[in-house]
């Protein structure tokens, strides 16, 4: 069972208080009708499925907030978590270690 740091509660808590919410930074297009079928498919279904550091979303039952995380999918270790709406942080070395 993972330990997850909630950036809103500023507390590190057991996975059972969280639900996974898929890949992060896939913003809903402002005007979907302007998209081609392929572009719309990419938004709907295409996922990075990274082997290694993965930008993803979780929701904390405690504060009810969706937030973002960078997790290594090989070790399952969380490299960092950050609030929804914050820019995608670039992977720093010490985080990657």
């Amino acid at each position: 069972m993972l330990l997850i740091h909630c950036p809103y509660c500023e507390d590190t808590l057991p996975e059972l208080e969280f639900t996974y919410a898929g890949e992060a930074h896939i913003a809903r297009p402002a005007d979907p009708s302007a998209l081609s079928d392929e572009e719309w498919r990419d938004f709907l279904f295409i996922r990075t499925n990274a082997r290694g550091p993965h930008y993803e979303r979780w929701r904390h039952i405690g504060c009810g907030r969706f937030f973002n995380a960078l997790r290594d999918t090989v070790s399952d270790r969380f490299l960092m978590t950050y609030k929804a709406g914050e820019a995608r942080p670039t992977l720093t070395n010490e985080a990657a270690e």
């Binding site: 069972m1 993972l2 330990l3 809903r28 979907p32 709907l44 969706f66 399952d76 929804a84």
Partner: protein
């Protein structure tokens, strides 16, 4: 009787005899015995039969790694468990045990014929045969193979015991309470750290319990252990015995299984049998010691052949001599001490046979002093004896060359092939292992978790070294928490340091082709099997393991993995690390299913949600059905009524006058804020801007993929406030979906969502008399302006209420919402007020029938996640003018707009017979299989109109109105006419009354 017991010796209570039975015979043991030690005290070595060859077997070990001495244990009805380790199970009064995998008896087992034909049952033999004739596989071969499989018998009764679980958060968890673990605990318990020390055995002390002569800080080993445990207790350290660390999971979570009652004569009432601890530790210290390796030679599996360390444990902990005249075969110093201790306790040691040419002088002195013959540079080439070893053949050995041997009579053979660090938990963490060429063993290398490994687990030997290492590990753990402490120092006298060499299978002077040198005792895997697997192209240890089943027995390779690897590596001419080590997998030792279940059994298996009106339904004979997490009243049968009769009565009563229904499980979401209407416009397909306060509208929710996710009637109570209802199963999903969009996509909106599903109890009234009955009870509603699809806040029967006028039946309908605490009061008040109208309570089945007669859909029944609004005939609910809403873009994808999609229509059978829900529809019933199916029946009911009705999705269904389709069933083909889905009152005249 137990003539192998040494009076007064050991840690067992000689004044407390305990009797138990084994295969029907009653034996006497002592309090503190295991079944194995008690049987050995009675001179019984034969305790089991092996898996494949049914060879007679005795215990090889004195611990949880035992592969041979597996027995069935029981304590009365429902309390039987197979494959229990006799070496672990403590004696308790009235314990009943039995041997396994034998017939008719343990000493005479017909299954042993397999042993005669052993040459046939080579590794992987079953992949090569049993293929002809083909039909024989199902009929003959496989049943025989399966019949022979398995060790013990499965339990057959329901287990009356219960099981517990608990979370534990601790600073330092130390696994293993031997010298290293105790030293680590002493170090970690400084500066107020919260420390937990666990051990799988009944008492703490580990190897020190089998080495009483060792002195630490001037105290005899046992006194020292008692003193330190006292200190730890005083320091508030949590000490847990009979507690096995079964698995090491992410971020220092360790699973512990604590056995609470299996050792007790009479467990206290209400006590759980076992408890699973889910420990989250800041730091973990693994001090699990090392496991002794068997030597691999012809006849090494004969009862009486056991590990030297085990014999030493039986002697010191249980006061049991495993034999009168033991012989010793070893490649490690440690076995010499076992020989000395047995000699000092009255055993006549036949010989110490050491594969090494040169042995430490002090050991040779020790043997000479005790008059023990020493055969250095010798090996054992074979053993003799039917159900117990009677003699061993010792011969000088140079490399693979064996000299002339001689038989040495003995009644047991103590072997030691050296020691393997116990790194199972470490390997659960995916920590890497490094090969130590000197020690011929794997040692911990790269760590992935906050853990330390201490003592024999790091290949250290001798108490001085192990204690120091434990103390250092404990201190590192403490420092890992950012705390300080000093390192403990220990002085050890009479230490028992040691080294050794390791071997592949030992050479034989007999016919090498006939040698039976076992590696995996339980699965009967021999050295020859390993070499055969390699010869057949199995080059990785994973392949070798799977092909030979080496290491897949109930000891999970604790006895066999390293020997198997050494021999495979030798056969491949590679270094062991190039062949790899099979990953150890949880649990560390086999763990009862019950312990994993914990509280997830019986009524707490999974939660059942109940409405405020549930108690009334139960008291009034409702039959319930599970819907999502809820239990809902399905129908209310009167005496003598079956489901069909009850439902028909409920339907008719509602259509004729008045029905009442508990709709409390419907999801309810309060959507509030200045941007509420904008939010609703973006989420739902419908337009909301023009919906006036005080009015309701049917809302349709899609996934972004354009398929129907949920629906429900939504009321606008004020410009900024919507009362949204969802399906029972959809409530949580819909709220989460809405929150996701709100938080992630539209954080700018001033609107908030609150679940009110359980704030309100909801009672639905339907029927021509609904209005007449309700009116007098309501205050605060202007009936002149309260048409169908209206809502208001008011009082009903004096209770604060939200009243909705809507209908899911086609009759005049209302949904009364009152604060949940008043739900039952409202229900009983309405039942009372409804008496003049013969008010009839109905359940979910009647609800389904009545809505189907009106063609109202049930999401998840008439839709299956591939259905669009157009497919379901709900285009009218889609706001064409809206620029965007969730799922809109997907509705214009090519295959969504294509012709021939399945569309929801009604069906009426020509012969008036009912259709089965899920029945498939074809256009040509005479075509051959596989048939072209154009759709299926989604709903089908006996209706109130005297004939059954059905809904179905059919390719191009809207263009097939009036056409005939076919439903081929096993008992013949049905013909049905495609109709509208609205079977009842198509003009909604009854709603307008």
């Amino acid at each position: 009787m137990s003539r192998f017991r040494i009076p007064g010796k050991g840690r067992v209570d000689h004044s407390a005899p305990v009797s138990f039975t084994f295969d029907g015979k009653t034996y006497r043991g002592l309090r503190g015995d295991t079944v194995a030690s008690a049987l050995l005290a009675n001179g019984v070595h034969l305790m089991g039969r092996s898996f494949k060859y049914h060879r007679p077997r005795g215990p090889v070990t004195a611990g949880s790694e035992e592969p041979n001495a597996l027995i069935g244990t029981s304590r009365g009805a429902g309390r039987f468990e197979p494959n229990t380790r006799a070496t672990v199970q403590e004696l308790r009064a009235g314990l009943v045990t039995e041997s396994q995998n034998k017939w008719p008896s343990l000493s005479f087992d017909i299954g042993a014929v397999n042993d005669r034909a052993y040459m046939l049952f080579s590794a992987g033999f079953y992949y090569k045969t049993f293929m002809w004739p083909k039909s024989f596989w199902d009929k003959v071969y496989e049943p025989v193979i399966r019949g022979a499989a398995g060790l013990g018998k499965s339990p057959t009764e329901v287990d009356p015991d219960h099981y517990a679980s608990r979370y534990l958060h601790t600073d330092v968890l130390i696994v293993g309470a031997g010298p290293a673990g105790i030293a680590a605990a002493l170090a970690a318990a400084q500066s107020g750290a919260d420390v937990t020390l666990v051990d799988e055995n009944a008492e703490m002390g580990g190897s020190l319990l089998s080495d009483p002569a060792v002195q630490i800080d001037g105290k005899p080993a046992w006194d020292w252990v008692d003193a330190q445990l006292g200190r730890l207790r005083a320091a508030g350290v949590r000490l847990m015995t009979r507690t096995t660390a079964i698995g090491y999971y992410h971020q220092n979570m360790v699973g512990l299984c604590q056995r609470l009652t299996d050792h007790l004569d009479n467990p206290p009432k209400g006590a759980p049998r076992e408890r699973m601890w889910r420990v989250r530790a800041g730091q973990v210290v693994l001090a699990q010691g090392a496991l002794e390796k068997p030597l691999v030679f012809d006849g090494n599996d004969r009862p009486g052949v056991m590990l030297a360390g085990a014999a030493q444990t039986y002697l010191h902990r249980y006061g049991v001599k495993v034999g009168d005249s033991p012989a010793v075969l070893t490649s490690h110093d440690s076995a010499w001490y076992a020989a000395f201790d047995l000699a000092d306790n009255g055993a006549r040691v036949a010989a110490i046979i050491d594969t090494r040419d040169v042995v430490r002088p002090d050991l040779l002195d020790g043997a000479r002093k005790r008059g023990i013959e020493v055969l250095a540079g010798h090996t054992v080439t074979t053993t003799r004896g039917r159900l117990r070893v009677k003699s061993v053949r010792a011969a000088p050995v140079r490399g693979t060359h064996v000299g002339r041997g001689r038989d040495i009579p003995c009644d047991c053979l103590l072997m030691s092939g050296g020691w393997t660090p116990s790194l199972h938990l470490f390997s659960h963490t995916k920590g890497s292992l490094a090969w130590d060429a000197d020690g011929n063993t794997f040692l911990p290398d790269r760590k992935t978790e906050e853990c330390e490994i201490a003592g024999a687990g790091r290949g250290l030997w001798g108490y001085q070294a192990v204690l120091a290492d434990g103390a250092a590990a404990g201190l590192r753990a403490l420092q890992g928490l950012g705390r300080a402490g000093h390192e403990g120092r220990f002085t050890v006298a009479n230490d028992r340091p040691g080294t050794g060499v390791s071997h592949t299978e030992l050479p034989t002077d007999g016919n090498a082709g006939k040698a039976r040198a076992f590696i995996d005792f339980q699965n009967d895997v021999t050295a020859k099997d390993i070499r055969l697997a390699v010869r057949e192209g199995m080059r990785s240890i994973e392949h070798v393991k799977r092909y030979t089943t080496n290491g897949m027995a109930t000891d999970q390779g604790k006895m066999s993995n390293i020997n198997g690897l050494m021999i495979a590596a030798d056969a491949l001419g590679k270094a062991p690390p190039q062949v790899g080590l099979t990953t150890f997998r949880p649990p560390y030792t086999p763990t009862s299913f019950g312990a994993f279940c914990g509280y997830l059994r019986g009524e707490t298996f999974q939660l059942t949600r109940k409405t405020p009106i549930d108690s009334w339904a139960e008291a009034n004979g409702a039959v319930f059905e599970p819907v999502a997490q809820w239990r809902r009243a399905w129908y209310f049968p009167k005496p003598g009524e079956d489901m069909h009769a009850a439902v028909l009565r409920e339907c008719k009563a509602t259509r004729a006058s008045l029905g009442i229904f508990d709709a409390s499980t419907l999801g309810k979401i309060e959507v509030a804020g200045p941007d509420a209407v904008e939010f609703m416009n973006r989420m739902y397909t419908n337009p909301w801007t023009k919906l006036a306060p005080g009015r309701c509208r049917y809302g349709l929710l899609l996934g972004e993929d354009g398929f129907i996710r949920d629906d429900g009637v939504i009321g606008r109570l004020s410009p900024d406030l919507f009362h949204v209802t969802t399906t029972t199963g959809g409530a949580a999903r819909v709220l989460t979906m809405m929150e996701d969009y709100l938080q992630t996509e539209w954080p700018d909106l001033d609107v908030w969502l609150t679940s009110t599903t359980e704030q309100w109890a909801t009672v639905a009234l339907n029927g021509p008399n609904a209005l007449a009955m309700l009116k007098p009870l309501v205050q605060g509603v202007d009936w002149d302006d309260f048409p169908h699809m209206s809502c208001a806040e008011c009082t009903v029967a004096g209770l604060p209420a939200r009243l909705f006028r809507l209908s899911f039946t086609g009759e005049i309908g209302f949904e009364v919402n009152v604060p949940a605490r008043h739900g039952l009061a409202l229900w009983t008040a309405l039942m009372e007020a409804g008496k003049p109208y013969d008010i009839c309570p109905y359940g979910t089945e009647t609800m389904h029938v009545l809505r189907a007669e009106k063609g109202y859909i049930i999401v998840g029944q008439d839709t299956d996640g591939t259905v669009t609004p157009a497919d379901a005939g709900l285009d009218w609910a889609v706001g064409k003018a809206k620029k965007d809403f969730v799922g809109k873009r997907s509705l214009s994808r090519p295959d969504i707009t294509a012709k021939g999609r399945k569309q929801l229509v009604g069906l009426l059978t020509e012969d008036g017979s009912p259709l089965q829900e899920g029945a498939q529809i074809v256009l040509d019933p005479n075509q051959p299989k596989p048939m072209k199916m154009v759709g299926h029946v989604t709903s089908s009911y006996q209706s109130t109109m005297g004939h059954p009705i059905a809904m179905a999705v059919i390719e191009g269904g809207f263009d097939k109105m009036g056409e005939t389709v076919f439903i081929p069933m096993p008992d013949g083909v049905r013909k049905a006419r495609v109709t509208s889905t609205v079977f009842y009152d198509p003009d909604n005249t009854r709603l307008k009354a």
